[in-house]
């Protein structure tokens, strides 16, 4: 059991599925499922304007929420610069997305079991010198095409939008983009700039996840352990 709960990325949907926060992730899952009528959303990218807004936490929890809905889920750590998924799930990062894209490993070698039923993880792999080029490569498109056949849902964790261009590239290859906004941390024009970056590559914006919202004392009791 972790002694530093504040720093540790909580997979709360797994460890405490009855909590209101887990409920919020399930609501997010539902909202995504119903946000597109014609086209099925299979590849979702999660990003944010700046660092440390909770992209990886949201991605991991959303992936777990999908896995709990009996979908075959793959979480890809697309942050080739500051990867975190292997830490969240306590996995090895010796081989991952970068090894796959640089043809040093096969798909089967880089997909790891997360320990959560139905949820597989592809860690980032060794940090490459040219992440943006790797993301933009034809190999990447081919890999995604292959993954579409194997998984119901593919979630992409990415670097921040305004820091590097990686997320823009991945956005153009995804079916939907979720932007995480940390409550009270992101200035309006910064967020607008990040959104403009996504619009420029024709990303399909699913919406915003407002993260780290301060809980008001009066709120949250409606479904707080409802039916417990």
């Amino acid at each position: 059991m972790s002694q530093q709960p504040s720093k540790q990325r909580h997979l709360i949907t797994v460890t405490n599925p009855r909590s209101p926060v887990s409920e919020a992730f399930r609501a997010l899952r539902t909202n995504i499922d119903f946000s597109s009528v014609d086209k099925q959303i299979q590849i979702i990218m999660v990003t944010s304007s700046g660092p440390e807004e909770g992209k990886s936490t949201v991605t991991a929890n959303l992936a777990a929420a999908y896995a709990q809905a009996d979908k075959k889920v793959l979480l890809i750590d697309g942050d080739l610069r500051k990867p975190t998924a292997h830490k969240t799930f306590s996995l090895s990062n010796r081989a991952g997305l970068s090894s796959l894209l640089s043809q040093q490993a096969e798909l089967e070698d880089v997909v790891q079991d997360s320990g959560v039923t139905n949820l597989s993880i592809m860690t980032s792999g060794p940090i490459p010198p040219n992440p943006a080029e790797m993301m933009a490569s034809n190999r990447m498109s081919a890999v995604l095409q292959e993954l579409r056949q194997r998984y119901d849902m593919i979630l992409f964790d990415t670097p921040p939008l305004l820091a590097v261009t990686d997320a823009q590239i991945v956005a153009s290859k995804s079916d939907g983009v979720i932007m995480v906004v940390s409550y009270g941390k992101v200035k309006r024009d910064i967020a607008a700039k990040a959104k403009a970056n996504l619009d420029r590559v024709g990303a399909k914006m699913l919406g915003v996840v407002l993260n780290n919202v301060k809980r008001k004392a009066s709120e949250g009791y409606y479904y707080y352990y409802y039916g417990n």
Binding site: M1, P5, S6, H10, L11, I12, V14, T15, N16, R18, S19, P20, V21, A24, F25, A27, L28, N31, I32, S35, G54, V58, F89, S90, L91, S92, Q112, D113, S114, G115, V116, I178, M179, V181, Y183, G184, K185, V186, K187, R188, D189, A191, A192, K195, M205, L206, G207, V208, V209, L210, N211, N212, V213, K214, R215, G220
Partner: protein, 258 residues
């Protein structure tokens, strides 16, 4: 847009959010004001005499109260009030009482003359850091005034009703600083400053906080609100983890299993 208009609850919210800042500003300012009032500012004492302006019967042809005479005296008081504050009196006080070691200009700052409307009584008040000195000065001024008036007006119509007691049986308290008043002012002013800063900070804060903000500035829907993982969640997480050892165990031992 509704986001622009703050309703009353929003104001409470803003105040509650920065309550600690406001409280600390108020506390610090009040402590400073209290320390200043009690320890730094010298206390000021007040002593007063009353002077009555009336014609002595020897000068009056008729030995009875004459309304005209009284009115004249009342009018005279206004003149006397000014005369007391001129060098004609204060210079003499400064010269005749060298033990005060005080100039006429300083005396002018200490002395205050007032009269109640339509009475023949005027009050002389002197403030000083020592009560005894204040009493001595006010007595001296009254005396000099009484002595000097005949040479200025050629009338003998001023008498001293009561002198200030130099050694009163009960030591009088200082009139200044008024600790309670200073604290009250400090409290109100600092509270207003604190609230002002809180609202200013809120106004200057242009970060995204609500679904309305996101809709307005990004044109995107908010599809989820994830609250901060609070203490309770972490606690219940651990409780839950203890109960559901299978799940927690799987998570913990993934590396070992691999």
């Amino acid at each position: 847009m509704s986001a622009q208009e703050l309703d009353l609850r929003d104001y409470f919210q803003i105040v509650r959010k920065r309550l600690w800042m406001i409280v600390s500003i108020v506390v610090v300012v009040c402590i400073l004001a209290g320390v200043y009032s009690l320890y730094i500012k010298n206390p000021v004492y007040e002593a007063s005499t009353k002077i009555i302006v009336n014609q002595t019967p020897t000068q009056s042809t008729v030995a009875q109260l004459d309304l005209n005479q009284i009115n004249t005296n009342i009018q005279l008081i206004n003149t006397y009030k000014e005369i007391i504050k001129t060098p004609a009196i204060l210079d003499v006080v400064a010269k005749n009482y060298p033990q005060f070691n005080i100039t006429a200009e300083d005396l002018l700052k200490k002395v205050n003359v007032s009269s109640v409307n339509n009475t023949q009584v005027m009050t002389l008040v002197v403030r000083d850091n020592s009560y005894q000195k204040a009493a001595e000065i006010v007595n001296a001024i009254s005396l000099v005034f009484k002595q000097e008036i005949p040479s200025l007006f050629n009338v003998q119509n001023v008498s001293i009703l009561n002198e200030a007691k130099v050694d009163p049986p009960v030591a009088p308290g200082p009139v200044e600083p008024n600790v309670v008043m200073n604290l009250a002012i400090a409290f109100i002013v600092s509270l207003m400053i604190g609230l002002g800063i809180a609202f200013l900070l809120e106004y200057l804060d242009d970060t995204l906080k609500t679904e309305e903000d996101i809709e307005k500035y990004l044109g995107l829907p908010t599809i989820a609100m994830i609250t901060r993982l609070g203490q309770e969640e972490t606690k219940s997480t651990e409780l839950q983890a203890q109960k559901l050892t299978r799940k927690a165990g799987e998570l913990e031992h993934v590396t070992a299993a691999k």
